[in-house]
């Protein structure tokens, strides 16, 4: 007979739907509606795992999230093995395959159980004491061996093939727990159109009511009342079954982990496996219930010993009896309810051992009346049975034969989330439990209330409606439980089942002087397992209180931390893994043959190997092309900031060490940027385009932080300066053209700038072909060179044109070699946050004339003037073929301490030898010396030399102006590649056509004049957009707007400036910096909320609202143009990332479609 312990009737399982499953290779059968635990018990399987430390046989203890023993690995397929799942929470489905853990070779015959024989030696702290010497063996031998022997399940090694999503949600009331208190609170909250979310960790709402067939509420049988309430709530509140509230974070942010497909036999490819909800709730109602405590007695951990309330749940909800001959050990009336129900189901109750001296009351008398022997003032003193309990010894000397012991040590309110909200708990001496000090938002058993009628009426009140009475019948009145009693130290009286901590361990810890409960916890590991001591903490506190002679209230409790139950890494990572882990940014120039490297968030081309060519050979060839011919480099990733306004010069003068007042229009200058501490933060070029307009570049990686630093000074230290900063990194693509033939090559395409007449370090505006450019005559290679700044959509055709004209492409590797040959530094390579300009021999870049600039004062501090500071020098290895490892220590004959280290080292094709840059203590005075670099094998001799290896006079920078040839045409403009419009049920998205975009900065006084001029008013209200015919103005900041206009409005810049009249204004064209996306449909807001944390409800983010915000990890501008339509302005290089995020997010609309629980 299958399922011998299944009752013929009763319970909420579907007996017409039998389900085959597999446990440790055994084919078993259960029913739809079972958990793995209830199905195993129906088959008489109690032995389900081995304990963590002693490998003791363990059975199912509980029926819920608190389960410490019945941890299994569920195999959902390759890469889908989930270890350490509580069998009590795994829903049964056809083909489910589960394995027990922590046993070898099998659950019944486990070699690790030998550890149990040695248990007298394995007391708390034995690892620390036993495996101390020799220390070297700890890492290599002891720890790996201990980890193998202990530990729980094994994580799969294959990559996780499933999808996981996040969802941000905002609500007026979040109700955590869908038992009687939670459902009544939901009834109370679901009025007045409030946004309400109710979550419950189980598949079915109802909590304890599902196991109370005898109770009626307002005339409904309890389970029917639940179904009726769910029907009432459906459609007005968001119901999230299978959803665990795992953490309460700052400002009412609650983390919910929703298991979406794990209960489905074949999954569902259209759904994510799990969804992690970030719920921001105006109000939270905690209806988290209570958990039953085990009793602590010797041998209390054998299979067949479980909690009394769990047995009642298995009987009433799943139609399963735990055994045939039951002993009950209790300190609480609720065990009598289990006794009565089991007795009615035909189970023999051998005896009830009640710790209380005089148990009495309705529940007790009802069981006595059945003829069940009740032994008062009696506890269990020992048990017998190898893989299943066989008998128990009572404190009255009696031995009771039994196959099941049901224990009840009272109920512990589930205050974990309350405690995580950083509020205090108080110890209630009568009940012997911790309760919320502030119980305004805790209802039901988690607030220590057990009477059902009281729970329902207070919960509806907590939900937000006037309290009303509920008619409850069939519930027995319960008398108070005995306060938790401490058990005597015994090495088999388990307090913490999951970590195998006994009363003996606790007494050992206190005997060794551990008094603080936090110390006892860490020394014994009690409460530190994956169950976080849900069943054990209070028993441990009680024991420590007795051992130390202090009251429990003085002992206090350990800190409750998230997560409440384990959350998978998949859910936490959500969509942000693989290519979406961080934005991957690419420049507008596509170079299919290149080898790429990551620089910040960018992919940059390292080198361009030809067929059959090694990367090393490619770099050498590229270097020679720059030195001897002409080569091109994609420098689009450089950060660029436009600094504008009448105060722009004064601002830069205070920020940069260089004297900006001497920089005339049309000239540019290399400049270091220091922090206030004097250390080099970044470097770049300052170019003056007009008296009140500068184009400043930063390093690729430093773009955001430099802008942030500048904004900091501008807004908070120098707010009186009328200057503005606008990022134009994405507005301009940059192609560097370097080499002696650079002038000759470019002159073929540039007619309106006299290249030969352009001085080194100058800037001109003009055209290449028909494309407007800002042309910089600058060089980071030491050769004559230009950097063409041009609109990104034209970058590819100019690149292709120059390639076709014979220019060699070079990558970042060659760039590094070329600049190092000239002794040019790279921030982050020659600098490390402790390097000042003088260290690099760049002291001459600091204006001596200026009394102040950012960082100047710090350069006079005594430490900055030391002569033994690390200084930049060149190194030439004695063996010309040697390329030193970067980071290698430079020493004198190998003696320590090291004198410094190698910062850059390369092979130079031009010099035909290895060379290096290094920072060496007092390095400049050591030029001419020979030093030594210890290598893996031997020691390299290096000559200390000047760090400029090539052309120290800078003659090559002048270039060779060639003959001026006829003008040639550029390659045609290619159609830009954008993602196809994507459609899905409820959400469409598409890339919008190009528009003219102006970033306008001005004070309030100028706004109306500018608005009149550009044809749309600049809104004064924060986060609002105005539209007028074909134009729009979006408020981005108190002095900042984005104006959108048709592309043909080409002279709008000048019109805007004119509109400002005499007021200062900054107008920067950012047409190319962003691309617009439109997302539309009834579920557009839901979709966005999967990747954007803002509240997008129409009441919070109405039509016309706009703001910068984050989408995933990318900054965007979000504008609601209609009830169901949003326009996104996305940084050009972020478009693929944002598109992919939204593609993932479009699946999040599932959330609105699967609210139904098993109840419906």
């Amino acid at each position: 007979m299958t399922q011998p312990f299944r009752r013929p009737g009763g319970g909420r399982i579907d007996r017409t739907n039998p389900i085959r499953f597999n446990f440790d290779g055994r084919q078993l059968e259960g029913f739809a509606g079972d958990t793995l635990a209830s199905a195993l018990l129906a088959n008489g399987v109690h032995l389900v795992g081995r304990s963590f430390k002693y490998h003791r046989p363990r059975g199912i203890l509980s029926a819920g999230a608190e389960e410490p023993n019945a941890l299994v690995a569920v195999d959902y397929g390759p890469g889908r093995v989930t270890p350490n799942l509580r069998a009590t929470q795994v829903e049964l489905f056809g083909g489910l395959s589960a394995r027990s853990q922590n046993r070898f070779p099998s659950l019944r015959w486990d070699a690790g159980a030998l550890a149990g024989l040695a248990s007298p030696l394995l007391s708390a702290g034995f690892y620390y004491k036993t495996f101390m010497w020799p220390p070297a063996l700890w890492r290599r031998l002891y720890e790996p061996a201990i980890r193998r022997a202990a530990g729980l399940g094994r994580a799969p090694r294959a990559p996780d093939p499933d999808r996981y999503l996040h969802q941000y949600a905002h609500c007026d009331v979040l109700i955590i727990g869908g038992g009687p208190a939670g459902l009544a609170a939901a009834l109370g909250a679901s009025v007045n159109g409030q946004r309400v979310i109710v979550c419950d960790e189980q598949a079915e709402f109802g909590g304890s009511l599902l196991a109370e067939p005898g109770v009626t509420i307002d005339g409904w049988a309890a389970p029917d009342w639940v179904a009726e309430v769910i029907r009432t709530l459906s459609g007005t509140v968001t119901l999230l079954p299978r959803t665990t509230a795992f953490g309460w974070y700052a400002d009412n942010l609650i983390g919910l982990a929703q298991r979406v497909t794990d209960h489905l036999p074949d999954g569902d490819a259209s759904l994510p496996r799990e969804c992690l909800w970030h719920v921001r709730a105006a109000r939270v109602v905690l209806a988290t219930g209570a958990m039953e405590r085990p009793q602590v007695f010797p041998g209390n951990d054998r299979p067949g010993i479980m909690l009394a309330g769990a047995a009642r749940t298995y009987l009433n909800r799943y139609g399963v009896i735990p055994g045939r001959q039951v002993l009950i050990a209790t300190a609480d009336d609720t065990a009598y309810l289990a006794a009565a129900d089991l007795h009615a189901a035909g189970v023999t109750i051998a005896a009830i051992a009640d710790q209380r001296a005089d148990p009495s009351g309705e529940a007790v008398e009802a069981v006595r009346a059945l003829g069940v022997p009740v032994r008062s003032g009696t506890g269990v003193t020992g048990t017998a049975g190898r893989r299943r309990v066989r008998s128990a010894r009572l404190s009255n000397g009696q031995t009771v034969a039994c196959d099941t012991i049901l224990m009840c040590g009272g109920w512990t309110p589930s205050v974990q989330l309350y405690a995580q909200s950083r509020r205090r708990l108080r110890f209630d001496d009568t009940a012997g439990v911790f309760l919320p000090e502030d119980s305004t938002d805790s209802v039901g058993a988690c607030a220590g209330v057990s009477d059902l009628a009281t729970i329902l009426s207070t919960a509806i009140d907590a939900g937000g409606s006037a309290p009303r009475a509920f008619e409850v019948s069939g519930a027995r009145a319960l008398s108070p439980a005995a306060p938790p009693a401490a058990a005597a130290p015994h090495r088999k009286a388990f307090v913490d089942f999951q970590n195998d901590v006994t009363t003996k361990d606790l007494s050992g810890a206190t005997a060794e002087g551990f008094i603080s409960i936090e110390h006892v916890k860490r020394y014994t590991t009690t409460g530190m397992a994956t169950d976080q001591g849900k069943t054990s903490n209070l028993n441990a506190l009680t024991a420590v209180a007795a051992l130390t002679g202090h009251p429990v209230s003085a002992i206090g409790h350990t800190t409750f931390r998230p997560p409440y139950t384990p959350v998978t890494f998949g859910a936490l990572a959500g969509p942000y893994r693989g290519d979406l882990f961080a934005p991957i940014r690419r420049t507008p120039i596509v170079v299919p043959d290149a080898v790429f490297e990551d620089v910040g968030t960018w992919k940059r081309a390292r080198c361009f190997p030809r067929t059959g060519e090694s990367p090393t050979a490619a770099v050498a060839r590229e270097c020679l092309a720059v030195r001897n011919d002409v080569a091109i480099f994609d420098a689009s990733t450089l950060g660029k900031i436009e600094v504008t306004g009448p105060g722009a010069e004064a601002f830069l003068q205070r920020i940069y060490p260089t004297d900006v007042t001497t920089l005339t229009v049309g000239r540019c200058r290399y400049a270091l940027l220091l922090g206030e501490d004097g250390f080099i933060r970044d470097d770049g070029i300052i170019a003056r385009l007009a008296s009140d307009r500068f184009h400043v570049t930063t390093t690729t990686g430093g773009a955001a932080s430099v802008l942030h630093l500048m904004e900091d000074y501008l807004q908070t230290e120098f707010p009186e300066l009328q200057a503005w900063l606008t990022s134009i990194t994405e507005q301009w693509a940059v192609i560097a053209v370097q080499g002696p033939r650079a002038v000759t090559l470019l002159a073929r395409y540039i007619a309106d700038i006299d290249l030969g007449a352009m001085a080194h370090m100058s800037v001109r505006e003009g055209h290449i072909g028909d494309v407007p450019i800002r042309l910089f005559r600058v060089s980071f290679t030491g050769e004559c060179g230009f950097e063409i700044n041009l609109p990104p959509e034209h970058a590819q055709r100019v690149w292709d044109t120059l390639l076709a004209a014979g220019a060699t492409p070079y990558g970042t590797d060659a760039m590094h070699v070329l600049r190092a040959e000239k002794g040019y530094i790279v921030v982050g390579q020659e600098t490390d946050g402790t390097v000042i300009p003088e260290d690099l021999g760049l002291g001459h870049m600091l204006s001596a004339r200026k009394r102040d600039f950012v960082g100047k004062r710090s350069l006079d501090r005594p430490d900055m003037c030391r002569t033994d500071r690390l200084q930049l020098v060149g190194l030439l290895p004695g063996d010309a073929a040697t390329v030193l490892p970067e980071g290698a220590q430079v020493t004198d004959q190998g003696r320590s301490p090291a004198l410094g280290h190698v910062t850059s080292a390369y092979y130079s094709a031009t010099l035909d030898r290895g060379f290096a840059l290094a920072l060496i203590s007092g390095g400049r005075a050591r030029i001419g010396e020979t030093l030594h670099v210890p290598l893996l094998h031997g020691m390299a001799e290096v000559a200390v030399v000047n760090p400029v290896f090539l052309d120290p006079q800078g003659e090559r920078l002048r270039g060779r102006p060639g003959p001026r040839g006829p003008q040639q045409a550029l390659a045609p403009l290619a159609v830009p590649i954008t993602p196809d419009a994507a459609r899905a049920e409820g959400v469409d998205m598409a890339v919008l056509p190009p528009v003219k975009r102006l970033n306008i900065r001005a004070g309030a006084a100028a706004a109306s004049g500018i608005g009149m001029a550009v044809g749309v008013l600049l809104p004064a209200a924060p986060c609002r957009a105005m539209t007028e015919r074909d134009r729009a103005a979006l408020w981005l900041g108190p002095d900042e707007w984005l104006v959108l206009a048709p592309p043909e409005a080409s002279n709008l810049d000048a019109i805007a400036v004119k509109g400002a009249g005499d007021h200062p204004v900054s107008v920067v064209d950012v047409s190319h910096a962003t691309t617009a996306l439109e997302i539309t449909g009834p579920r557009a807001a839901w979709c966005l909320n999967s990747v954007c944390a803002l509240d997008l409800h129409l009441s919070a983010f109405p039509i016309g609202a706009c703001t910068r915000t984050l989408l995933g990890k990318a900054g965007i501008i979000l504008w609601r143009t209609g009830a169901e339509t949003f326009r996104l302005e996305v940084g050009r290089s972020y478009l693929p990332y944002v598109w992919a995020c939204l593609e993932q997010a479009r699946h999040a609309v599932f959330a609105t479609t699967i609210v139904g629980a098993n109840n419906s």
């Binding site: 206030e676 900042e1040 910068r1108």
Partner: protein, 89 residues
């Protein structure tokens, strides 16, 4: 994740902001006339209060403004925010 009341944009999630350290640390008007010790204190010495702390934040993924914020470092409660350059009183 905190909810931070930007003086311009209202309550916004913390990930839109960047922390800017202790508020009201004034850069000396004439650094050249400041002693080494006073300068070092300006650069490096910061309060580390248990409780009320005035600190700077920038709504970097929003209006871009720096502003000041009074936060309790124990409870993380923000009592109020005010614009840079004002005392917040």
């Amino acid at each position: 994740m905190l909810l931070i009341p930007c003086p311009w944009c209202g309550l916004r999630p913390e990930n839109e902001f960047r922390h800017g350290g202790q508020a009201h640390v004034q850069r000396p008007a004439d650094p050249a006339s400041v002693s080494d010790d006073a300068w070092a204190a300006y650069l490096y010495i910061r309060d580390n209060p248990r409780g009320r702390s005035a600190e700077r934040w920038r709504h970097v993924h929003g209006c871009g403004r720096f502003f000041n914020c009074v936060r309790d470092t124990v409870s993380d409660r923000i009592s109020h925010c005010y614009r840079a350059g004002t005392s917040g009183a």
